[in-house]
Structure formats: structure tokens, C-alpha cells
């Protein structure tokens, strides 16, 4: 009999070249894939627009740094600074790679490439004799990145969490390396990656989707490991993730403060509201209809696809329903691994395997939910504060489940190899079938990713943004000051806008990109009202042609312009994006009743901009002059104030908006004053300052009239200014007394959480600084 070990070593020589070659081949495939899928058009749209991949500079300038608002809606006052590192880096990249198509496509390939690389690195750290199991590791990694669950859940609409495909394994890899070696450099590498992709970790539900099952499984360590080992592990755990945690304070502080904020407009108050909690149980009951069998087959829940008529339904009918039996090989591999692990693995590997097995069971449950009485238990979890973010568990736990399943299945492949070392044919047959099933699963990738817009048959989402639209955006930017809001028509049910492709009926359907191209926020659908009652009032008013109500809402919400898109394809009009009744009512009669005059028309007449009937101002008050310094800072000059008077600030209410009295005379110079006579208010040309050192003083400085701040129109901010109080409490340098006894005073309106952002940045820098010093000292 030929020595099998000899045969294996011969094979390994081949592997030496074959494995890097296979890796390169997969990476090449991933790079080419978007070109094959989208054929030279941008794949944009959806809940995060994906425009920042193609237009990072515009995104950086118009929305970032001061970003406390969501796109195309009234502010949620929620920190979005986590985008900053990536968008800055991508902007630099865009200076090197000029093609928007290449940049856009790279954003699709790169998460999968990172996933492939870091998953291999991660699993290598979990296997003791890893060099003997490179083929299994590569196979497991392919199982991971080509999992139909990931492809469907994260690539039909590739949102930010796609970066977690690479980031989570990368973080785990550096953590395990640190646990093993104690090398602080691994923490630094972890920090760099986490910072670049901080907008990925910002999507905490998906991060939780991985870490919740893993944390639950760590309880089994109490059974399996000695107390000293557990303590050692947790010590390193806290060091590693402690550094990571504090290094992310540049966005995390704002994020945490938003959670602690009691504001009615805060993100958290929406997320933990009663409506959201009730919605949790309802959503779970409605959507958790799958069983654990399809996830075990490495497929997304079939039942959900059919219940909700998802695009996946058709893919099941034409493909997976015919090939699912091939995926039974994954279940065979899983069970062979479970039945044989004790015979083949080393003691430490056995323990790791058991921890993974428990994590797998937990994640399988969380991803499926619908397991008899466990479904009711999951609904009970809804009472845990914040757990409601997992209300669509089939989505939030999908990535975590796939990572854990892939880790376990890779381990099972290693077990099978060791178990059937002497039965070459059995091993090769299993491996070949496994590879075959993995590859066959990705065959419908084009059908998955290039699917029609939901509820349409022929409208696809890959487009070239028409030059007409881009030119029009430039004109809009020149005409409208960013202190205004715009109503986008047709007004839909979510907060999406539609841009039609130049040649075909394909569309961009996603968050309205107006703010990205112009810096001016718009309201494009029911969700733009941030769950306020106006959403339904506005739609009802459109349907019932109640133009007084519409005009009143437009005025109170500081919507002074109407942007009309006239070339929305008919099939899109009938899609889920619009309430057909409301859409029909948005006719010429509607436009003429809510607008004053047409301001500009695009070259081909597809886009028009109008002013509204009645004009409001972002800030208003008697004899008030204001100037926008940045998205978070306004200077206000009030003249001749005799008695108490109001200052209205028509942006979403937040207690963080604070007024500070500044000494007079200040450098308040008003250029290009625009007088809004009805409001007795003048707006000056904005300054667009990036950062002023005085901003830091707002951290410790006490605001004025804090107690008088109230919610106006159930949405915005209102203060009562009392000149007597100023006279009593402030030195004369803070105000100017006029001959008639009235007073002139100057205020700064500042969004205080922005100052916390600067504290966060300082903490991040200090954390990294401390780490670098520690690394330096340790090397010395």
C-alpha cells in the first residue's frame, strides 16, 4: 500500500502553488464580477444611496463632518460621523481613480475580497496544524463569501453592512493574534481597520448579530476551560476591545449620547418608543415563518421569500428548488464533523469546536426564530431595551449566522480530512461535492443582484446618472441656500427619489440625493417626516386636494421650494414606492396650488424647480438677522428688543441646540442680506466655516434661555428671549442699549453634540497615542 502521508505531502507541494493561485483566481473573479453584472452602469440607490462611492467628494463636502441628520428627511439628530474616515479615504482614492464606474464597482468587490482574505486568516488562528489544512480553509472561506444567504441578504441592495463581511473576521483575527502573542501591534491594526470601516460597525444590529451568539457561546467556556485560562482570555479581551472602543469615540460618543438623549426627536427615542416595541412583536410574528432547514442548507429562508413575494422567490422557483438537494452535502459535512470531532481534534481544538457549535446553535435560532416555543421567547426579548432593532431577525442575524456556520463547517472539513485520512476516495468525493455545491449556489448571482426594482418587472437599478440631472443639480445649488428645505415631487411613501437612466427605463431609486449634490435637504416621502403625524396628514391632504393643509405644513417645516421630476417611468409609478392614489393627485393642479413661480427648468424639461406660495425662514424673530456659519452653528443679531420675544428655529427639536450670548460688538458683518419682510427677519450670506476654536468653549460654557426652549409646531425649536434677564445677569459688554431703551444683542446658536464630537476625536487620538507609546516602550 502506498504511504498515504507520502501522497499527502506530494499533494501539499501542489497546494503550495495551487492555493495562492486559487485565491488570486477568486479575487480576480470578484473584481470582474460587477462589470459582468452591471455592464458599465452605476449600481446605486437604496437606503444609503451608494452615491458616496461614486461621488465621495460631494458627499464629504455637503453632508459630512457636521452630519447629524439623515438624508432626505427632517433631522434625527443622530451621529453619522462614522462615515468620515472611509469617505475621506475614498475621496483621496477618487483623485487617483477618476472613473466613477471603477470606484462604484470596487465598492462591491472589495468587501467580498476582504471577507475572503480575513476569514482565512481568522480560521487559521483557530486551527492548530493550519498549514496542513489550507485547502479546507480556502473551501470554507469560499463557502462564506459565496453563501447565498450573504449574497441575497447583503447584495440585492448592498448597504453599508456589506463591509462587515470583511471587518468582523478581520477584527476577530487581530483579537485572536493578540490573545496568542500579546503583541500590541495587532490592536493598532485592529484600530486602523475599525476606523476606516467605522461606518460598518456603526451598523450595530449586524455587529450584534455576530457577537450575541458568540458571547452566549462563551458561557460554555466555564465548562471547558480552567479558571486561569478564562481570566487570561477576558483580560486580553478587555484590553483589545477597550482600545478599539475608545479609539472609536470620534463617532461613538455622539452615537452613545444619542442613545442617552431624552429628546423626542432622537434616534433612540424613536427606536425604543412604544410604537417600535409593538412593531417588534408584530414584525416577528409576521416575518419569522422560515424553518432551520434552509439555513442549514446554506440558503436564505424560502418561506419568507414566498410570503413576501421577494425577488428571491423567483430564484427559488427557477433555481434553488431544483438544486437544494445538492446542498445536503453541507449538512452531511456538518454531521460528520459533529460525530467525529472527538476522535480527530486535539484537546484545545475540541474545546474551540464545542464553543463554535454552541454559537452556531444560538445563531441558527436567532436567524430563524420560528422554532416552536422559542419564537415566543424571542418576542419576550423585545422587552430588553434596544433589542427591538432585531425585529427583522432574518436580516440582522444573517451575516453573523453565515460567519459562524462557515467557521464550523471549515472545522468540519478539517475533521473529515483527519478522519478519512486513509480513505482518500471518501474524502475527495466529499470535498468535490462540497466545492460543486458551493459553486453551483453562486450561479444565479446575476439574477440575485440584478433584480428588478421591487414590485416591478422590467425596471432595473443600474443606471448612468443623466448629464441633464447633474447640470440641473448645479443650477439648484446656485439658486437655493442650504437653510431651506425642498419638497421633492412625486412624493412617495418612504424617503426615496427616482432618477431615470439616460437611455433605458432603469432608475436610481433610493434616498433622495439632493443634499449630496447641492447641500440642500429635501423631503421626498412619508418617512421624511420622521414618524411625525404630519406624514399621514400630508398624504391625506394630497389625496383630498386640501391645499391649505399642504401649504401650512410646507410653511411650518420651512419647505420653500418644490423640485419636480417629470420623467418617472409608469411602471415605477405603480411600484411600492408610491401610493397610487396620492401619486395621481400630484398633478398640474397640485403643483399650481402649492407653488408660486417656476424658477428653473432642466435642459430637456425633465426637472423643474418652483418656489412655494409662502416663504419661511430657518431662523426667525422680530428684527432678527442671522447667518449660517456651518450646519451646526448660526450667528444671530437681534436689534431693538424691548420686551420678551420669540426666536424660532425651524429645524428638528433637540435640547442640544443651544443659544450662547457673545460680547458686543462682535464681527457680525452681513453680506448679501436677504430680507423676509413678513417675518421681520434678514438672512445673510452663509460663511461655510469648517471649525472655529471658540466652538470648543461651548463644551463648558453655559447656554442662555435654556429653560425657555420648547417644541414649536410639534417639531422645531423655540426660545423666549428676555432682555431684562440679560440686563440683570450679564455685563454691559454683552449687549448694546439703544436710545429708546431697547437692546441689541448677539447670540450664537450651536448644536452642542458637535462639541462632543470634538471630545470624541480627542479621546480617539489619545487612545491611539497611548497605544503607540506602549508599543514603542515594549519594543525598547
Amino acid at each position: 500500500m502506498r504511504n498515504y502521508y507520502h501522497t499527502l505531502s506530494e499533494k501539499f507541494k501542489i497546494h503550495k502553488h495551487l492555493l495562492p493561485f486559487s485565491n488570486c483566481l477568486i479575487i480576480l473573479f470578484l473584481i470582474i464580477l460587477p462589470y459582468f453584472l452591471f455592464q458599465g452602469k452605476l449600481f446605486i440607490g437604496g437606503d444609503d444611496t451608494r452615491l458616496f462611492y461614486a461621488y465621495p467628494k460631494e458627499y464629504l463636502i455637503n453632508t459630512q463632518f457636521f452630519s447629524w441628520t439623515n438624508l432626505s428627511s427632517f433631522g434625527w439628530n443622530f451621529s453619522y460621523q462614522s462615515f468620515l474616515p472611509f469617505v475621506s479615504l475614498w475621496t483621496i482614492l477618487s483623485e487617483i481613480i477618476k472613473s466613477k464606474i471603477v470606484l462604484g464597482y470596487l465598492s462591491i468587490s472589495l468587501p467580498l475580497i476582504l471577507g475572503l482574505i480575513f476569514f482565512q486568516k481568522f480560521i487559521r488562528e483557530l486551527i492548530i496544524d493550519k498549514e496542513k489544512h489550507e485547502p479546507e480553509i480556502l473551501l470554507g472561506s469560499s463557502f462564506y463569501i459565496f453563501s447565498p444567504i450573504i449574497l441575497y441578504n447583503h447584495f440585492v441592495n448592498p448597504l453599508i453592512p456589506i463591509w462587515l463581511i470583511g471587518l468582523i473576521p478581520a477584527l476577530c483575527y487581530y483579537f485572536l493574534k493578540f490573545v496568542k502573542t500579546g503583541n500590541l501591534l495587532d490592536i493598532l491594526k485592529g484600530i486602523i481597520l475599525t476606523s476606516i470601516f467605522s461606518f460598518g460597525s456603526h451598523n450595530s444590529p449586524w455587529v450584534g448579530g455576530f457577537f450575541i451568539p458568540i458571547t452566549a457561546s462563551l458561557i460554555t467556556c466555564l465548562f471547558l476551560f480552567k479558571k486561569e485560562s478564562i481570566l487570561q482570555f477576558f483580560k486580553k479581551f478587555f484590553i483589545f476591545f477597550g482600545f478599539i472602543f475608545f479609539s472609536q469615540f470620534f463617532w461613538l460618543l455622539g452615537f452613545l449620547l444619542a442613545f442617552l438623549s431624552s429628546s423626542s426627536n432622537s434616534f433612540t427615542s424613536n427606536v425604543v418608543s412604544e410604537a417600535f416595541s409593538t412593531d417588534f412583536a408584530r414584525t416577528i410574528l409576521a416575518t419569522s415563518t422560515g424553518t432551520i432547514i434552509y439555513p442549514l442548507l446554506n440558503l436564505f429562508h424560502r418561506q419568507i421569500a414566498f410570503d413576501y413575494g421577494l425577488s428571491l422567490k423567483e430564484i427559488y422557483q427557477i433555481f434553488y428548488d431544483k438544486t437544494y438537494f445538492l446542498n445536503f452535502i453541507f449538512i452531511i459535512v456538518l454531521f460528520l464533523g459533529i460525530l467525529n470531532f472527538r476522535k480527530t481534534l486535539l484537546p484545545l481544538e475540541r474545546k474551540i469546536y464545542l464553543v463554535l457549535l454552541v454559537a452556531f446553535l444560538v445563531s441558527l435560532y436567532l436567524f430563524t426564530v420560528n422554532i416552536g416555543p422559542l419564537k415566543a421567547l424571542f418576542i419576550e426579548f423585545g422587552y430588553i431595551p434596544g433589542f427591538v432593532i432585531f425585529r427583522n431577525a432574518y436580516d440582522k442575524f444573517a451575516l453573523g449566522y453565515t460567519i459562524i456556520y462557515s467557521l464550523l463547517i471549515t472545522y468540519c472539513l478539517v475533521i473529515i480530512k483527519k478522519r478519512y485520512l486513509k480513505m482518500n476516495k471518501v474524502y475527495l468525493t466529499l470535498i468535490s461535492l462540497f466545492l460543486l455545491a458551493t459553486l453551483i449556489n453562486i450561479l444565479p448571482i446575476k439574477k440575485i443582484m440584478v433584480s428588478p426594482l421591487q414590485t416591478t418587472e422590467n425596471i432595473y437599478k443600474n443606471i448612468t446618472i443623466p448629464q441633464e440631472y447633474l447640470e440641473f443639480m448645479k443650477e439648484v445649488k446656485g439658486k437655493i441656500v442650504s437653510t431651506n428645505n425642498v419638497l421633492s415631487v412625486p412624493y412617495g411613501i418612504s424617503l426615496y427619489s427616482v432618477i431615470k437612466d439616460e437611455e433605458s427605463n432603469n432608475v436610481y431609486a433610493g434616498l433622495s440625493p439632493l443634499i449630496i449634490f447641492t447641500g440642500v435637504n429635501d423631503i421626498s416621502g412619508g418617512l421624511s417626516f420622521n414618524y411625525a403625524p404630519e406624514a399621514s396628514r400630508f398624504e391625506d391632504a394630497i389625496i383630498n386636494k386640501n391645499y391649505d393643509v399642504i401649504n401650512n405644513i410646507l410653511f411650518t417645516r420651512n419647505i420653500n421650494y418644490v423640485f419636480v421630476t417629470k420623467n418617472v417611468p409608469d411602471e415605477v409609478k405603480k411600484s411600492y414606492l408610491f401610493n397610487l392614489e396620492a401619486l395621481k393627485a400630484q398633478n398640474e393642479d397640485f403643483i399650481s396650488n402649492i407653488t408660486d413661480k417656476k424658477i428653473i427648468t432642466s435642459a430637456k424639461g425633465n426637472y423643474e424647480l418652483y418656489s412655494t406660495k409662502e416663504r419661511n425662514s430657518l431662523i426667525s424673530g422680530d428684527n432678527l438677522t442671522f447667518k449660517k456659519i456651518s450646519r451646526v452653528k448660526y450667528k444671530i443679531l437681534i436689534k431693538n428688543i424691548k420686551d420678551k420675544q420669540e426666536i424660532l428655529f425651524n429645524d428638528s427639536y433637540h435640547p442640544g441646540w443651544s443659544l450662547y450670548l457673545v460680547p458686543m460688538p462682535d464681527s457680525f458683518n452681513c453680506q448679501k442680506p436677504n430680507n423676509i419682510a413678513d417675518l421681520k427677519t434678514t438672512e445673510c450670506r452663509q460663511e461655510n466655516a469648517f471649525f472655529e476654536i471658540e466652538d470648543l468653549s461651548f463644551i463648558w460654557e453655559d447656554p442662555v434661555f435654556e429653560e425657555s426652549q420648547t417644541v414649536n409646531n410639534q417639531f422645531s425649536n423655540k426660545w423666549i428671549i428676555d432682555p431684562d434677564w440679560i440686563r440683570k445677569n450679564f455685563d454691559k459688554k454683552y449687549y448694546k442699549v439703544n436710545k429708546d431703551g431697547s437692546m441689541d444683542l448677539e447670540l450664537v446658536l450651536y448644536f452642542k453634540p458637535q462639541a462632543y464630537f470634538y471630545i470624541g476625536v480627542a479621546i480617539s487620538i489619545i487612545t491611539v497615542g497611548v497605544l503607540i507609546i506602549l508599543i514603542y516602550l515594549k519594543r525598547k
Partner: protein, 334 residues
Amino acid sequence: MKANIKKKYPSKVTIVVVLILILFWTASSFLLFDKVSFSVVTYQTKNNYKSYENSTELFDDKIFIGEFNAHDNNLGLIILSLGEYKKPKNYNGEILKFRLREKGSDEWNFEQNYKLDLFDSQSSFMFGIPAVSDSKNKSYQFELSSNVEDNINHVKLRDPGLFITGYQYPKSEILGGDINSAKFAYSKLVGSFTDPKFTISALLYLIPFIFVFGIYLLIKRIPLKKLLNKNFNRDHLKMLFLITLIILFPNYFYFDFTFLVITLWIGAFIIYKFKSNASFILSLVLILLWLSTIPFGLQSLQLKYNVLVYSFLAFGVFQLLLEEKDYEKKKNKK
């Protein structure tokens, strides 16, 4: 020598059990899984009409034509496979028209309009007609059309080249005890088992037979003692058999099915000290059973198996942890 000869043959009890199971299988298959009444014999029938491919989507009054030669007398049924169709929210009473005539005849023997909501989520549809007593070897033609205007959501024929025709046998012929009864039995068997769906369904009810037969053949070859418990004996086997029967026929039990199975299994674990492998193997068997139900869409059964698969997996992992702990203890003692 005598003793050796005895060992070669199964006991009388085994023969009786096997015969009962075969009888049970045949009866269950015909009574529970056959989609038509027992007195109807069905045949897979080829569509002889050449150009049917372009009219399989029934909307805008497009006409689908089917042609076939009747296999027997008393033609009374035509079953067609359908694609996915959901009754629209704005259903306005649209209909599907079915009519049948003998080929070459100018007049239609039978004509019927069906409301489209009858086709909602149906994978096949039975078009019943008054039995044609002398249909054998005659050629028939039928037409289907619909006035629905929606070119996306409408009734579609899934396999227009093949359908099932059914023939109603009179009671006198079935129970006559003569050649006609034998002919009916033969036709029923051939007709049913040439339908792949029926055959696969019937296989489900063959499982107890396979199980007993397999146990009989393999009991000495499977390393059950190694796999389940080193003291594995007949008591263990009975328990396994009982649990398997409950799993296979969940609807026969009036208790909470999953609770019963899990309780029995935990009992078996405590009393007989089964290894974790037993739980995992049972879990794998249940996955196979679950997968075998896919073609029939037996959702309530799938949900029950779903709970059981997860329960056995979870219980198996729990056992594994205990075993690992024991292993560690033993290793430390050594």
C-alpha cells in the same frame, strides 16, 4: 444443526409484522396520498397537440389546446399542473373557461367556466367532466382560455406536454370479484405508481417497513453499542422504535407532539444513557424526513420536524458538553 437452520429464517412474529407493515403501506398510500377517489384510475397522458407551447399563459383570451387518446372507458377527469398564481387584490370575477369534445366533432361535449379564485396557489387543478362511458381509444380535445387581462399574474400551465387523465370505475366492476376487479387493481397500481409524485409520497409510508426490515437485516452489523450505548439491548431498540413511530406519524397523536418526543428522548437519555451521537443521528434523520416533504408542501409537518431537529441538535450539544466534562475528569484522574 437444527438450531442453525432456525436462525436462518425470520420468526413468525417478524413475518406478521412485515406483512402488516406492507399492508399498512399500500392502504395508506392509496387512501391518504392518492389525490383522486379510490375508484378512479389515473394515467399520465401525453399532449398530442403539437403547438401548445405558445399558449401556456392564460390571459387575453389566449387558447391552450390539449389532445389525447383515452386509455380506458369512463373518462371523467383531467388534471393539469399549474404555475404560481395568486388571486389579485382587485379580483373582478375573471374566469377560466374549459371545454372538451371528441376530436373532429363540431360540438363541445362539456363546457364549464371556473372562477379564477379557485386557482389561487394551486399547483394542479382537476377538471371534472361527466363520465364518458365509451371513451376507450377515442381521441379527445380540450381547450382552456381566460379573460384575465393581467399579463403578469394569470394562470400558467407548468407542464403542458403532460397531464393526467382519470377514469371512473363503477362499483360493480371493482367489487365484482371477477376479471374486471383484477383489471381495476392492476390499472390502479400501474396508473398510480407511474405518477412520480404518488410514488414519492407512498415512499414516506414505506419508511416503517424499511425501518423494521433494515433493523432486522442490519442489527448485528451496525455498531449500535459503540454508537449509542455499550449496553445496547432490546429495550433500547423498542424505545427507539417507539420514538421513530411517533415522529413518522405525528398527526395520530393527540398529545403535544414535540413535547412527547422530546420528553421520551430525555427519558431515554436518563434511563439508558444514550450518547450524544444518538441525538445527532436522530436529528439528521429528521432533516432527511423534512427534505422529503418538500415536494408535497406539508407545512404543518415541516414545522413539527423543524422543532424536533433543533431540539435534538440542542440536546446533542448539551450531551456533548457533559461528555467532554466527563472526558476531562477521567483524563485528570489518570
